[in-house]
Amino acid sequence: MTTTRHEGAPPLRVTELRKQYGARVILDALNLEVARAELVILAGPNGAGKSTLLGCVSGTVDPDGGRVELTGQDLHARPLEARAALRYLPQELEMPRGLTGREWLLFHAELFGASPADARALEPGDLLAPMRASLELLAETYSPGMRKRLAVATLLLGDGRVLVLDEPFAGVDRDGQAAIARHVAEALARGCGVLLSAHDPEEAPVAALVAELAARGHSPSPRVFALEPRADQ
């Protein structure tokens, strides 16, 4: 896919975002910007609207007002261009029925403008190596941890500029968490903006990621964007 990115634009900019379900307002006039190479940790308790915000950012939830731009492309006015830059990891990982893990990987490779060789190159990597023998099996039969490894691997294909990760460390073993953290750090080093949701920014895998970035001398420093349940709810 040919995309026209606004190179000066931040990977993600959310302006005056509003979302309500019935009479219940979840997000109201929310502004958020994720700069190049910046890690923003979206924190907040259950019901604070983290998943709703990530849904609006990824285009899976239609906001009632406001604007979402990915690399300067309006998500609703230019849906394909904006999504070409987006790499979204949902919290609940479904797999398509009838497709093997490898076929799902190749599907993303084609979609993100990567070659099948790029997809195959991921197989011996730290994410997929432990489940390599299962890649030819139906993806719907995978355990939650395997699903997450596969889903994260699909995010590495092509030239993604914005990683939106909903609880990326939940449900995976310690090695898997370390592998995911490593790839997030590498994406940041390439200049990707990362929006990562976590119930608690102090939880071990997130803290480890922040520590690794600090050890690398990564700039800008990670930032916590806290959402609280609205007082009027």
Binding site: E81, R83, Y88, R97, G98, L99, E103, L137
Partner: protein, 382 residues
């Protein structure tokens, strides 16, 4: 009513409909034979017809994923039973209607007397009644016998011997109970059908005949009453064992290689079309390619045949079209999930909504072609 998850479009009526068409053709072929010969066809065809949709009718009792998912919840066994009965009853109703329709079509196309229709339907409905009562016994027996019994228990030994070592012992009952249940239904219906034959020949029924007719029916009734109790006893342990057996029988979930036509469609319609085509190939039920080929070949035959198609030919065309469309509908069931999976990806709007317009066109074009061929043949008939 408890929620249900999986549904295979057409599973409950498609195969029975195909058998019904074949049955009607066989009955029509024997139209010149005496009533006795046609009764023989009904005696054989009835159980075949019910056997065709048996698994689909009974699937909700033990096999459905809903049973396994709801098992951790404090849902009484009678609620599970009730939830499964809806599908079972509908299936029986549809199958019975198909059977009566098949007999009616055969008799009407041969121009036989309505009385012959009534005798043949009487035979079939009597068997259907016995089967309806006994079929409930199949999940009852399967739940009771699908558990693990202690070593040395007679049921454990029976499971081991009948399993032959190629499936789990607890799954053995699921292999034998359905065929045994319908076989028993045919056996119990036989005295009643012989009584009908006696009446058809003009002879009267004595007390012995009546006893032999109604006795088996009473036995079937007992099975119907006992079945829910057996089911309630066995449900909680039989369902996990069945799930385990399904996994063991299915082996590693390695699918068939992607067919070449899915790659071709992918080149024409994009990656989401290939994804949908793969789902059609792998989820659309057995042999979707064969179904399409059968429909297209039969359409060609109807278009080129020297005489315009009769009612039976049209019925077969409709069934073949339904068989093909059912495969497509199974893929369309994945739309909601595909929509969730694809919504955030850089795909055209229809694809993000889970649709694959090119594949949809391919699914509906062949039946449309068949309809056009039939219409033209009738319109242009002299």
């Amino acid at each position: 009513m408890l929620p249900r998850w999986e549904r295979s479009p057409g599973a409950g009526w498609l195969l029975p409909a195909l058998i019904a068409v074949a049955w009607a053709a066989t009955l029509a072929g024997a139209a010149d034979e005496p009533l006795l010969a046609q009764r023989g066809v009904v005696f054989v065809g009835g159980p075949l017809l019910l056997l065709a949709g048996l698994h689909a009718r009974l699937a909700d009792y033990l096999h459905a994923g809903a049973r396994a998912r709801l098992l951790p919840l404090p849902v009484p066994a009678r609620e599970h039973w009730r939830a499964a009965q809806g599908l079972h009853r509908r299936g029986l109703l549809v199958t019975g209607a198909l059977g009566v329709l098949a007999i009616g079509l055969a008799v009407a196309s041969s121009g036989a007397q309505p009385q012959r229709f009534l005798w043949l339907v009487g035979d079939f409905v009597w068997f259907l009644l016995c089967a309806a009562l006994l079929e409930s016994g199949i999940p009852g027996a399967a739940a009771w016998g699908g558990r693990r019994f202690p070593a040395g228990h007679w049921a454990h030994e029976l499971q081991r011997q009948l399993g032959g070592g190629w499936t789990t012992p607890e799954a053995v009952v699921h292999l034998y109970a359905p065929a045994f249940g319908l076989g028993l239904a045919a056996l119990l219906a036989m005295p009643g059908q012989l009584s009908f034959a006696r009446l058809a020949s003009g002879a009267a029924l004595g007390p012995v005949h009546l006893g032999l007719t109604l006795g088996p029916l009473a036995l079937a009734l007992v099975v119907r009453v006992v079945a829910p109790r057996l089911y309630a006893d066995g449900l909680w342990r039989a369902v996990p064992r069945l799930q385990e057996a399904i996994r063991t029988l299915a082996g590693p979930p390695k699918p068939a290689p992607a067919p070449a036509w899915s790659a071709l469609l992918g080149r024409l319609g994009g990656p989401h079309t290939r994804l949908a085509a793969l789902q059609l190939a792998r989820l659309g039920g057995p042999a979707p390619g064969l179904r399409l080929a059968a429909l297209l070949l039969y359409t060609a035959y109807l278009a080129l045949a020297p005489v315009p198609p009769d009612l039976l030919s049209c019925g077969l065309a409709v069934i073949l079209a339904a068989a093909w469309i059912a495969a497509g509908l199974r893929q369309r069931q994945e739309r909601a999930r595909n929509r969730r999976l694809l919504a955030h990806l850089p795909l055209p709007a229809p694809a993000r909504a889970g649709r694959a317009p090119l594949l949809d066109a391919l699914i509906f074009a062949p039946p449309a072609l068949t309809a056009v061929a039939l219409t033209l043949r009738w319109t242009l008939a002299p």
